[in-house]
């Protein structure tokens, strides 16, 4: 592989500046990095929670923690991994990459973007504060009604859970609006929808899913909030209500949420496979339309989580069929990925290892998913470890491996340094081994009747062997994950410097230096292909033996050719997010903090609204390299 000639000049680091510059930044790249760092931190937190669960279950009659603490562990593990790790890790990539990939200098609303991050960030703190008052949420990440009612769960744990999810939901909706507009309306000239990178396509579908799914959980949480704080009876059967209402609202959100978690990974893999197979994605339009179909069908299958609720044969049949239908577009994608690898000049680098690992593991999770699309089979598997195995093959095998592939792939662009290749491959193999060792035995445990969420089990029922295997696997997996963090530290300290285009890739983010300059594009590119850089480097025949340098979008010049003004930093998004969190979290204390929070929020929003985006002193870049 050859590095391109562009971007030999190193720009002043976009990450320099003190803590204040991070608190007030509106640069999508820095915000992306903050999402990433937050997610990688909570990945450790959620991982430790998982290890405690596995230690407790390693042997029969485990005594490491009691039932109460166990309930808190699986609740916080699920909530953390879904909302504090997988979603923000995807958000990190959306933030960093989408403007670069569509040829924009920032997102549509840079300050709203900062607000989204800070709101999310304060939400994560609010959630974990529950540990410090020793009342962590304990009703599962799904928070089924009755388990969450004031009557059966009088402590503060559920309040922390409701309020922090509500606050993080606002962050997600704000961010989804921002990225929908960015993708639709900020594309460089010539970048038609069908020329957008696959990652951007999947990101667009994810934004639309978030826009339409989060309001539903918001309403569900509002009802729960009213039930707990104002003694209403939305989920109380004695008053004529039904706990099933929560199940519907939760899963109308929750099932699209599954696709919100997996589609970014599909996008990552669809970018990596062509680069390392040295050929375009096989049937790219099919992959795009399959993604749209998955997003559309994803809204019509929520009740497959509720086959044991007793909705009746007609509903069960309809949701069963809908669920099986989703297997079609998903299968299409898998064939397209394999078709991309087929006959390619495969370059065996770490990102490709993770991408191929993702496909393999996701197929396992997908197959077990099709099994419990069938109602009679699901009735057997529901709430057993078989489902735990399934969802971890999808979320760990699918999402985490996909996101790791993305981190290995784009790390050079983000940091300007390469991750170690040898350590990367070791990282992959240990994680791959650990993942299968941990989760594959859970299929057997589930079919053997071991229920989810039990904090201990008796000896002699035949579960000992696979449980100890799974626990050993969890530690192998942890070693694999630690190798990743080791690789990160080594790269940041002494990693090999990254060229602008270290993988010889096809999309726009590789057309400027690594890391990119603050303004992203010295010249807004004219896009004339779905693979603008390959067209430039190799011409329309895609013959990698010939470099043409005639058509296509050239790499970026090292210095601006026109005056570029960027938005000024602002602290009001941070203040607004703090006000919102105070108003939300304050409901647990009393009226005063709520009013204070609202006041802060209102003041911040007004300052923000009347503060011009570009003020004197904003970053300005003059042609030829001067900056002010």
């Amino acid at each position: 592989m050859s590095a391109t000639t562009a971007g030999t000049v190193r720009h002043e680091s976009i990450y320099s500046g003190g803590i204040a510059s991070w608190l007030t930044t509106v640069d999508h790249k820095r915000i992306g990095v903050m999402y990433g760092v937050t997610a990688l931190f909570y990945f450790i937190v959620g991982g430790v929670e998982a290890l405690i669960i596995r230690l407790q279950l390693a042997t029969p009659e485990g005594t490491l923690i009691g039932a109460e603490a166990y309930n808190q562990m699986f609740t916080m593990h699920g909530t953390t991994m879904v909302f504090l790790v997988l979603m923000p890790m995807a958000a990190a990539m959306f933030n960093f990459l989408i403007p670069l990939m569509v040829g924009a200098r920032d997102v549509a609303f840079p300050r709203l973007n900062a607000f989204s991050f800070w709101t999310f960030f304060f939400g994560t703190i609010l959630l974990n504060l529950a540990f410090f008052v020793n009342q962590a949420p304990d009703a599962g990440w799904f928070g089924y009604a009755n388990l969450t009612s004031k009557q059966y769960n009088p402590g503060l744990g559920i309040d922390f859970w409701v309020l922090s999810l509500q606050i993080m939901g606002i962050a997600s909706i704000a961010s989804a609006i921002n990225f929908t507009v960015t993708i639709l309306n900020m594309r460089a000239p010539g970048m038609s929808l069908m020329r957008m990178p696959l990652f951007v396509w999947m990101a667009l579908i994810v934004q639309i899913l978030m826009l339409l799914a989060f309001p539903v959980i918001t309403v569900g949480l509002v009802f729960l909030f009213f039930d707990r704080f104002f003694d209403t009876n939305f989920y109380v059967a004695a008053a004529g209500g039904t706990p099933v209402l929560w199940q519907h609202l939760f899963w109308i959100f929750g099932h699209p949420e599954v696709y919100i978690l997996i589609l970014p990974s599909f996008g990552v893999v669809s970018e990596i496979l062509p680069t390392f197979s040295r050929k375009p994605l096989f049937g790219a339009p099919f992959v795009i339309f399959s993604g749209i179909l998955i997003g559309f069908l994803g809204f019509g299958v929520w009740s497959h989580h509720m086959f044991t609720t007793g909705l009746g044969p007609i509903a069960d049949t309809a949701f069963s069929l809908g669920t099986m239908l989703i297997a079609i577009p998903t299968g299409v994608k898998i064939f397209n990925w394999i078709g991309t690898l087929w006959g390619g000049h495969i370059v065996m680098r770490t990102p490709l290892y993770f991408a191929v690992g993702m496909i393999a593991l996701f197929i396992v999770g997908g197959l077990s998913g099709i099994m419990h699309a069938s109602t009679p089979i699901d009735l057997q598997q529901h709430d057993s470890y078989f489902v735990v195995a399934h969802l971890h093959y999808v979320f760990f095998g699918g999402t985490v491996f996909g996101l790791f592939a993305g981190v290995y792939y784009w790390w050079p662009k983000v940091t300007g340094r390469m991750l170690g290749e040898g350590l990367g491959k070791l990282n992959f193999w240990v994680m791959f081994l650990g993942m299968n060792l941990t989760f594959f035995p859970m299929h057997f445990l589930g079919l053997d009747g071991m229920a989810r969420r039990i904090y201990t089990y008796p000896a002699g029922v035949g579960w000992e062997q696979w449980n100890i295997v799974a626990t050993i696997g969890a530690f192998v997996l942890s070693v694999g994950v630690l190798l990743f963090y080791l690789n990160v530290v080594r790269s940041l300290r002494s990693g090999e410097a990254a060229a602008a285009d270290p993988w010889d890739a096809a999309t726009l983010e590789w057309s400027m230096s690594s890391p990119p300059p603050e303004y992203n594009f010295a010249v807004i590119p004219n896009v004339n292909s779905a693979r603008p850089l390959w067209l430039y480097k190799y011409g329309p025949t895609r013959d990698i033996s010939k470099r043409s340098k005639e058509d296509g979008t050239p790499p970026q010049p090292d210095h601006p050719v026109e005056r570029i003004e960027l938005p000024s930093p602002s602290h009001w998004p941070l203040v607004a997010a703090a006000g919102l969190t105070l108003a939300g979290g304050g409901t647990m204390i009393g009226l005063l903090p709520v009013l204070l929070g609202v006041a802060v929020l209102v003041i911040a929003v007004y300052w923000w609204a009347f503060q011009p985006l570009e003020r004197p002193g904003n970053p300005v870049f003059e042609p030829g390299g001067g900056s002010g």
Partner: protein
């Protein structure tokens, strides 16, 4: 920032408001669906038929619809740089919106004295949360309009700022449309 040149030729803020409205449809849709699925499930009174005052609410519905007319005229006035008319019509939106809210406050307190509280029965819970969230949206809209009126009085609402009014107008009309659905579902079809 070349914020003015957009792919679809629509200003970003306008597109963002449309996208937000799409999200809000799911929000109100969930609230209305819950109201409908809990209809007739209350184990205690008062029932909707006993307490809802259709003539009064018809008047306040008319008031809210007229506020949308004022909104349209306000935007038109701003675009034509008729500052005086703009102030008049924005003031009209605020007055009509405020009148609608006053009607809601009267209605809520009347119901409260009749024995329909948030906790009384499922009808009370679903009714107050649904219409309450709608009222909160109207309140936000009134505050937004008041801000625009203040800008107009300070001479900062010329035609170059008409997008500010247009985006606020999109929000206002949406909140109106939601009320038409609520009025039909809650009041007219009992």
């Amino acid at each position: 920032m070349s914020a003015h040149v957009t792919t679809f030729g629509i200003p970003n803020r306008k597109m963002a408001m449309w996208v937000f409205i799409g999200s809000e449809c799911m929000f109100f849709g969930s609230l209305i669906a819950t109201y409908l699925s809990y209809k007739g499930k209350s184990v205690a009174g008062p029932t909707p038929a006993e307490i809802l005052n259709i003539p009064l609410t018809s008047v306040s519905t008319f008031v809210l619809l007229m506020s949308s007319l004022a909104m349209v005229l306000a935007l038109d006035a701003v675009q034509r740089d008729q500052t005086g008319q703009a102030k008049l019509w924005i003031g009209g939106v605020i007055a009509l919106g405020g009148l609608f809210l006053a009607g809601q406050v009267y209605e809520f307190s009347h119901f409260y004295h009749e024995g329909l509280t948030l906790q009384q029965n499922l009808f009370g819970s679903t009714f107050f949360v649904l219409t309450g969230f709608h009222g909160a949206h109207v309140t936000v809209g009134v505050i937004w309009m008041a801000t625009l009126l203040l800008m107009a009085f300070r001479g900062r609402l010329g035609p170059e700022r008409s997008l500010d009014v247009e985006v606020a107008g999109l929000y206002w009309h949406f909140v109106d449309v939601v009320w038409i659905v609520i009025f039909t579902v809650v009041y007219l079809i009992q």
